[in-house]
């Protein structure tokens, strides 16, 4: 069966896989808005982040992509997953903020991260692109810090995750070109009737 590509949990439906699976196993965060796995795909103010906890207790970002709401999924070494609650996220951000203040955060102090084999969950979270939004109130303490800029790159499981994540976020603010023509027509199919309800089907 060499031609038939097998799917794997996340590859198959990309980042969507995590959303779908969490709904299936019934540990969905009740606060997270439903019905928006992609129906709101064009309104990206938040992010969907999957963080892997390694057996040695360190953390890495496996995947991250824009979504309407911010959701952080923590995947344990045994493969189980759960969504971090708003309270947990806030607590992690607050803890990291305190560490940044007193110079013990790996985000801003390279000696901390090299000393204990990696960042804590809060540090990894804030190093994600999403983290910049979540922790926006401490963002200005981070963004001007060169160590933070280099640290965050290392928290992704692979360089492609980082560059993919970065590029998919930058498109939210991509510039748009204006057209000067004023003779445009619209309103086609404006009175679509029932005969066009379905576009195509397994007919025949």
């Amino acid at each position: 069966m060499k031609h038939i590509k097998k799917i794997s949990n996340y590859a198959m439906v990309g980042g969507l896989g995590a959303v779908l699976v969490l709904g299936l196993v019934g540990c969905e965060d009740k606060n997270s808005q439903k019905n928006d796995a992609f129906t709101n795909a064009s309104q990206k103010q938040g992010a969907f982040v999957i963080i892997q906890e390694e057996i040695n207790g360190s953390y890495a970002i496996v995947d991250e992509f824009p979504s309407a709401n911010t959701t952080i999924v923590l995947r344990k070494p045994d493969g189980t997953e759960r969504i971090l609650s708003k309270a947990e996220i806030d607590a992690l951000v607050r803890e990291e903020d305190v560490k940044i203040q007193n110079g013990t955060s790996a985000l801003t102090n390279p000696e901390v991260s090299s000393g204990n084999g990696g960042m804590g969950l809060g540090g990894v979270l804030l190093s994600s692109v999403a983290g910049a939004m979540i922790g926006s109130y401490i963002g200005n303490k981070l963004f001007n810090n060169s160590n933070y800029q280099s640290q965050r790159r290392t928290q992704y499981k692979s360089p492609s995750t980082y560059s993919k994540s970065k590029s998919s976020f930058s498109k939210a603010k991509s510039s748009t070109s204006r057209s000067s023509s004023s003779s445009k027509k619209s309103g086609f199919f404006g009175s679509s009737n029932s005969s066009k309800k379905r576009s195509s089907f397994f007919g025949g």
């Binding site: 590509k5 969507l16 204006r178 023509s181 199919f189």
Partner: protein, 393 residues
């Protein structure tokens, strides 16, 4: 045929992921809780057959253009120029399509029923629902011929790389930044959510995208716009023949847009040739007695059980099954009477113990990439059910 009974996905769950069309008009579930069990060998045969058929359709497309057979295959005249233009350049990339096939199980040979090349549905069902069904039931989701999501993602990247190799996408795209506008009609949540799933996949591929209902999209010789912003690419889940027949003015503007290279439209206009059921007659002329084809003619076949269909009929409408002695076996009405008729040799679908018939749908995106089934009566209509599958030895 072997089937496996599974615990169904709840309607609440289906709705939570945007799959709103889970229940048919008679209140029955559209997603079957039984799935087809097939062998690796059978799955691979569907894959090989679809790849071969796609190559044959490409040959046939060239043949139609070279011999000016547009009228023969019932193509509306106002799209002929657009079709020719789209055929000439690679950037008019065929994103995805679906072959409907009979046979393939219980030792029954695979035969082409038709090719949904322009606006195929069942995308959501095939890519996601049947996968979730395995996942929910604790089955190995890797045992499914289903690479649809990734295959379409890679094919989106090829709009930029125009090559089997998609590695260079990001390098090229960062300088281009070409945007895709996705559109469907506003009165069908099925179409809207299917279109938004495609938009999501394009986003993941790395494209800048927007969504807008067709009636709000602005067209001019200068291109395709939303809120006065020009879009280089436009994806429409609207059949080309509807554009040609219901919105002639739009067809004319699109002709200019394509000619002047202002916007590229997906699926490309040439997919309307593939979509026409008359192509199966062209294929039979080019590849007579090919094992994957059923004899097809523009005239009724003699002394042969056959199916009369309309070139652009859908959902099992306007179909007649006629016995070899010319008596009528079965007939459906519909709104596609106006299209040209074709006559295709009858071939029985695989059947389960309850007597239901199964048709395979194989998606194609650069290569065959996913399998799903439909089950129903002898004529599969819009009350037929979607059936997932699992590969077991």
């Amino acid at each position: 045929m072997k089937l496996k009974q599974l615990e169904p996905l709840s309607n609440d769950y289906l709705e939570s992921i945007g799959f709103s069309w889970h229940t048919d008009l008679d209140e029955s579930s559209y997603i079957s809780n039984e799935i087809v069990v097939l062998s690796e060998e059978e799955a691979n045969a569907y894959y090989e057959a679809s790849n071969e058929l796609y190559d044959m359709f490409c040959e046939a497309g060239q043949y139609v253009i070279d011999n000016d057979l547009f009228h023969e295959i019932n193509i509306p005249f106002n799209l002929v120029e657009t079709i020719k233009e789209s055929w000439e350049e690679d950037v008019h990339w065929h994103l995805y399509s679906r072959f409907d096939l009979a046979g393939g199980m219980d030792g029954k040979a695979i035969k082409l029923i038709e090719f949904n090349a322009d606006t195929p549905t069942s995308l959501f069902e095939t890519a996601i629902i049947q996968w979730a069904l395995l996942k929910k039931n604790g089955l190995d989701e890797a045992k499914q011929f289903n690479n649809l999501y990734e295959a379409i993602k890679d094919n989106f990247k090829r709009l930029i790389t125009l090559d089997s190799d998609v590695e260079k996408f990001e390098e090229y795209y960062k300088d281009l930044g070409w945007k895709i506008l996705f559109s469907s009609i506003s009165t069908s949540s099925e179409d809207e959510n299917t279109t938004k799933l495609l938009q999501h996949i394009a986003n993941e591929a790395g494209f800048n995208t927007e969504y807008e209902y067709i009636e709000n999209v602005q067209f001019s010789d200068e291109g395709i716009h939303k809120d006065d912003v020009n879009f280089e690419f436009w994806f429409k889940l609207i059949p080309w023949e509807d554009i040609a027949i219901d919105e002639n003015e739009l067809a004319m503007i699109i002709n200019e847009i394509i000619k002047n290279k202002k916007s590229i439209i997906f699926n490309p206009a040439y997919t309307l040739m593939f979509q026409s059921k008359a192509m199966m007659k062209i294929l039979w002329d080019m590849y007579p007695n090919h094992p994957l084809l059923l004899e097809t003619s523009f005239e009724p076949l003699v002394n042969t059980k056959q199916v009369e269909k309309r070139c652009f009929g859908r959902e099992g409408a306007n179909i007649a099954i006629v016995n070899a002695d010319n008596s009528l076996d079965m007939k459906t009405d519909g709104e596609y009477e106006g299209y040209k008729a074709i006559y295709q040799e009858f071939y029985e679908f695989n059947q389960d113990k309850e007597g239901a018939y199964y048709q395979a749908g194989v998606f194609y995106a650069y290569e065959a990439c996913a399998l799903g089934f439909r089950k129903g009566g002898k004529i599969l209509d819009n009350m037929s059910k979607f059936v997932g599958h699992i590969i077991e030895e």
